[in-house]
Assembly symmetry: C2
């Protein structure tokens, strides 16, 4: 059971997060599915194409970066906590063409551990691993990011 009862997450509310960052909005990224502990995002080829006719490396990175925020918003009480990205590692597996997708999820046990730790110490570290796939299901990139969950007011 999740530690805090929350209302269901509305995709329209999570979409506001995308619109809050112009850089992300301009990629045309959309939220396909979102619920507590899980989200699926996708991004069109245009306007993210490079001079080789494939999806630009920085756009692929961005598609892998955004789920961390969406998942956090969908899972934790954002009145009390916020996430910081500390570091990321991306591995490009093959040239990326067409619409790309990414799914991110976090375990209920991990949610409980992080919330308890952040409540006690003002911060808690966690990691997300993602695979970015094309329309045929092929993995075009894998990405691992290290985050820190913080309580509001914990940053000077």
């Amino acid at each position: 059971m999740l530690p805090t009862e929350r209302l269901p997450v509305e995709p329209a509310d999570a979409t506001k997060l995308i619109h809050a960052i112009g850089f992300v909005e301009r990629t045309g990224m959309v939220i396909e599915e979102v619920e507590q502990g899980r989200c699926v995002l996708s991004m069109p080829e245009e306007p993210n194409i490079n001079h080789f006719g494939t999806v630009y490396a920085g756009a692929i990175y961005t598609l892998g970066e955004v789920p961390g925020g969406i998942l956090f918003f969908a899972t934790f009480d954002v009145e009390r906590f916020f996430p910081l990205v500390k570091s990321s590692q991306i591995r490009y597996r093959r040239p990326a063409r067409g619409r790309l997708s990414v799914e991110a999820s976090i375990d209920p046990d991990e949610v409980e551990r992080l919330q308890a730790e952040a409540e006690q110490h003002g911060k808690a570290d966690y990691e997300l691993e993602l695979a970015i796939t094309d329309e045929t299901g092929k993995v075009v990139a894998t990405m691992t990011s290290q985050y820190q969950m913080r309580t509001h007011g914990s940053l000077s």
Copy 2:
């Protein structure tokens, strides 16, 4: 001595590379300096700001990704070779505000080694390490990327 005599690199020509990728052009990134083996790029805060009022993580990554291409263009014979980014690791050091800058350089000995290896095997691996700094010179992020130099026609 560099293995191939080339004409001096014009910043205007290198800027065409930025304009060739809409995603990069929309960041407002500019080439401050470029010469064979070295480039300096900068990026304004707007339109790259996030909902915390700092530069968005994906924009910082993009500023660290582009020098690889600019440096390659400025250093190697692009009629014969092109670069692929294989993987990247970024570490965010502090919240980033204002105009950010990055410098990338490659040693003449390394240039010679890579060109000889690519000529012989059709490919050659190399790595770039970068520091992204703010206007006060503080490092806001560090990034390491692994590239592969290829001869045209070496990709199926």
